[in-house]
């Protein structure tokens, strides 16, 4: 219908003709406008512009170099890149808590067991904040494999894990890049036993043998965060450090990848049920007894820090995957309890490694955190925001004092069970454990050399390693590593939900060259995010990446080949820039 049809007919001719003319014009324009609308309303596709979130050299020297190397190759294939450097805790807050990133470059804590992927990739965690699925990745097939490997044991589990890893390698929800070697500089004249157990775990320090008259262990730690926050649930402040493991006991502890009893005297596993018996007469540092109730409480808190009946309104950002394996807990008496798990023995035992928190301290922290005048995000409880100073645990050391950015000092907890005659577990070797904060590897090394520290407790940056000269009193301690550097994609944002795109980005990265150049050769390139022991033969590194081979050689990207591959995958180029619909 146009205007002309409805116009009255008894009007003077001149007017009618005007109307008719107008109508004609309207008809003509309406066609034209529609045409224009069809053309104009097709939104222009802009150049793909991404931000890589990472840490500055003071926080992660290799990380920023890696981020810049990735920025270079992305720019080479026509992507506009900016790098957003953030301090240690702001980096983790952006990536883990707020998901404010396109790409992230940094260390993933990994683990000795492939079950860490359950937490890292299960789609049910895509909406949560924390180490649980920060990528927003969702794939039904992967979910299923993750669940199946949890329930299986032995060879069956190994086969499922191999399947899982191959799917993950094809999908590239994140790109595992390399495993950095862990080196620490230690004084051997004051302590023996370095390397008996991994120095990023409690046993690494408890296994030390002090020389005569040595009553203090001094570390030079290059990360200030342990002096700022001591909450085991706050993801932003926790890295690979053993200090809170010394303050908080867990039911079991890990030694060389094996799980052995710790606060639990023993346990039996039978078809999804763990019967656990706690050691008698253990106490928290404030002299309250450690009860089976505290254990049950801990697992409840780790599933929902608001302690509500329905699961998952405000889960903590750490230990999420492990705690989720526990379906129900029955407390039988003061010291005995039964855990119902949706997991085979291997994963069930891992669930025993979470820190046991005292119920009388943490109950009141199930409240929402408040800041006057500010609207706080839903699910933000005191439990995950408190700095938890002083921490009250039941571990072999207890909190003594701290000064932000200077030190954290712990003292031996004399009532700890490891000090009993009948317990054959390593006990605290010294009365005082002082974590001194020192900002750089070079000055931390100088402290050890000058006998002002006994160990550089965080792994050294790789660039200093060639220059370290151990003398008879000092040595370099190398330890196995399961942390890995990775490029994380935020699959909540286009085009990172597209596995083809992620695969192509992975193929822009020359991992071998990066390990050699950025990590000074002190890293092993990797195609898969698990330890060597779990890597299936098809995914083992054989001089090049078996899953996403590099477009080029020796760090030189074959730009034409890469651009062709992007075009083949359906992406468009205009004027040398990659255009992506977002």
């Amino acid at each position: 219908m146009t205007e002309a049809d409805t116009a009255p007919t008894d009007r003077p001719r001149s007017r009618r003709s005007v109307l008719a003319g107008a109508a004609g014009l309207a008809v003509a324009t309406s066609g034209c406008v529609r045409q224009v609308r069809t053309v104009v309303n097709r939104e222009d596709v802009d150049q793909l512009s991404v931000t890589i979130v990472t840490r500055p050299a003071d926080g992660d020297r290799e990380g920023i170099r890696l981020a810049r190397a990735i920025a270079d190759v992305l720019e080479a294939v026509g992507v506009d890149v900016a790098i957003d450097m953030r301090s240690n805790e702001e980096y983790l807050r952006a990536v883990l808590i707020n998901h404010e990133f396109d790409l992230s470059v940094g260390v993933h804590p990994g683990g000795t067991d492939p079950d860490v992927l359950y937490e890292a990739l299960h789609s049910r965690y895509a909406e949560e904040s924390g180490w649980q699925n920060p990528f927003g990745y969702a794939n039904m097939q992967v979910d299923e494999l993750l669940e199946d490997q949890r329930r299986a044991d032995g060879d069956e589990r190994e086969a499922i894990v191999a399947d899982l890893l191959e799917t993950v390698a094809r999908e590239q929800p994140f790109v595992p890049i390399c495993v950095p070697e862990e080196h620490r500089f230690v004084r051997t004249d004051r302590f023996d036993g370095w390397g008996e157990a991994h120095p990023a775990t409690r046993l690494g320090y408890l296994e030390l043998e002090p020389g005569s008259d040595v009553e203090r262990l001094r570390t030079a730690h290059t990360d200030a965060r342990p002096s700022e926050n001591l909450n085991p649930l706050t993801a932003e402040y926790r890295d690979d450090e053993p200090f809170l493991e010394l303050v908080y006991d867990s039911l079991a502890t890990e030694r060389d990848g094996e799980i052995e009893p710790w606060l639990a005297e023993d346990w039996t596993y039978d078809d999804g049920t763990l019967r656990v018996r706690l050691r008698e007469d253990c106490r928290f540092h404030d002299d309250e007894p450690v009860r089976a109730e505290d254990v049950a409480f801990t697992y409840r808190l780790l599933q929902d820090t608001e302690l509500e009946d329905e699961e998952g309104t405000s889960p903590p950002p750490r230990y999420r995957g492990l705690a989720a394996a526990v379906d129900a807990i029955d407390v039988d008496d003061e010291l005995e309890l039964e855990l119902e798990l949706d997991a085979g023995e291997a994963v069930a035992e891992r669930a025993l490694t979470v820190p046991i928190l005292p119920e009388h301290v943490w109950t009141e922290r199930a409240e929402s955190a408040t800041v006057p005048g500010v609207r706080v995000a839903q699910g933000t409880t005191e439990a995950i925001t408190t700095d938890n100073v002083p921490p009250i645990g039941s571990g072999p050391f207890r909190f003594e004092s701290r000064t932000e950015r200077e030190h954290l000092t712990l003292e031996r907890f004399d009532d700890h069970f490891t000090r009993r005659e009948d317990v054959a577990l390593p006990e605290p070797p010294v009365e005082e454990f002082r974590v001194g904060i020192d900002p750089r590897s070079t000055s931390a090394i100088e402290l050890v050399t000058g006998d002002d520290a006994d160990v550089t407790s965080a792994p050294l940056e790789t660039y200093v390693l060639d220059d370290v000269e151990p003398d008879p009193e000092t040595a370099i301690l190398e330890s196995p590593s399961w942390r890995f550097y990775h490029l994380g994609f935020n699959a909540r944002r286009a085009p990172f939900a597209n596995p083809r795109f992620r695969r192509l980005v992975a193929r822009l990265i020359d991992k071998a060259w990066i390990a050699e150049d950025v990590f000074d050769g002190y890293a092993a390139p990797t195609a898969t995010p698990v330890t060597e022991e779990w890597t299936p033969a098809e995914l083992a590194w054989d001089g090049q990446d078996p899953a996403t081979p590099f477009f080029g050689t020796d760090g030189d990207l074959d730009v034409a080949a890469a651009v062709d591959a992007f075009e083949d995958a359906g992406f468009n180029y205009d004027d040398g820039t990659l255009r992506v619909r977002r």
Binding site: P56, A57, D84, S87, E90, P439, R440, T442, S443, I445
Partner: protein
């Protein structure tokens, strides 16, 4: 470690200052100072108190400022890098161990000497105006600098390009890190307060060149080398240094206006015996 570095710094700066008193200030001024010191002290006390309060407040505020800055979230590093990118690399291409040693010395010892000595030298003048302008300009530098640090997060070149821009001083002389981290946070690079304070001293040294010609000859080149050292050592971007110079200019001008118009000494000390005429 920190104590050792501090003692070393105090000894070196004291020696340099003694030498400077001999060469720059001279016997006659010292003689007059012995006679007039009380009056001069009285004239300079109000602004000294203000500066002391600002420095104290500053050291407290610096614990809080990084947290505030991250909440404001104005991160300029990438923008700065995008604009100037290669300049620091070019500057560092002239790196030699000797230059690194010289600039590290200038960055730590030269800088502190540059800030301390004019306080002594201007105190030795009968006219207290240069001293009061100097202290006022220092105060303004710290206040305005802190405001800018609160709003702007920026990391220096050594944090962006650790492999190209060597953090020369910290790796060659790791002990200095103990000193500088007491004073600076690594997100506080815009503007360069090292540059602005050095430039403040440089500009005032130029203004007092008739009184202290020798000081002008020492201070101006030293101020310029402090500015260069911050870039050569990979601590600041060129943009930070430019901003530092602008800040210095603003502070010196403001100090001139404030000291002329609104004399604290006049308000608090009616017995002030010294006439305030233009001092040059």
């Amino acid at each position: 470690m920190l104590v050792q570095v501090l003692v070393q710094l105090a000894v070196v700066v004291s020696l340099l200052t003694l030498l400077g008193i001999g060469v720059v200030v001279g016997r006659y001024r010292l003689r007059d100072t012995r006679r007039e010191w009380l009056a001069r002290l009285r004239a300079a006390t109000p602004i000294t108190v203000v500066l002391a309060v600002v420095l104290l407040a500053n050291s407290v505020a610096r614990q809080v400022v990084p947290d505030l800055s991250w909440m404001i979230g104005w991160n300029l590093t990438w923008a700065i890098y995008d604009i100037e990118g290669q300049f620091i690399l070019w500057l560092q291409s002239y790196e030699t161990p000797a230059l690194t040693a010289v600039f590290s010395f200038v960055y730590i010892y030269g800088y502190v000497f540059l800030l301390v000595f004019p306080v002594v030298a201007y105190f030795a003048l009968s006219n207290t105006r240069p001293l009061r302008e100097l202290l006022t300009a220092y105060t303004l530098n710290y206040v305005l600098g802190l405001v800018l640090y609160t709003f702007v997060i920026a990391y220096g070149p050594r944090n962006m390009m650790p492999e190209l821009v060597d953090a020369l001083m910290y790796d060659t002389y790791p002990r200095y890190q103990h000193l500088t981290r007491q004073v600076n946070r690594n997100t506080n690079v815009f503007p360069s307060l090292h540059t602005s304070l050095a430039a403040t001293v440089g500009v005032l040294a130029y203004q007092t060149r008739d009184v202290y010609p020798r000081w002008a000859i020492v201070a101006i080149p030293l101020a310029i080398s402090v500015a260069i050292s911050t870039m050569y050592l990979g601590i600041h971007w060129a943009i930070d240094v430019v901003a530092g110079i602008v800040l210095a200019y603003v502070c010196v001008k403001l100090a001139g206006v404030l000291v002329g118009r609104w004399s604290l000494a006049d308000r608090f000390d009616v017995r002030n015996p010294l006439p305030f005429s233009r001092w040059r």
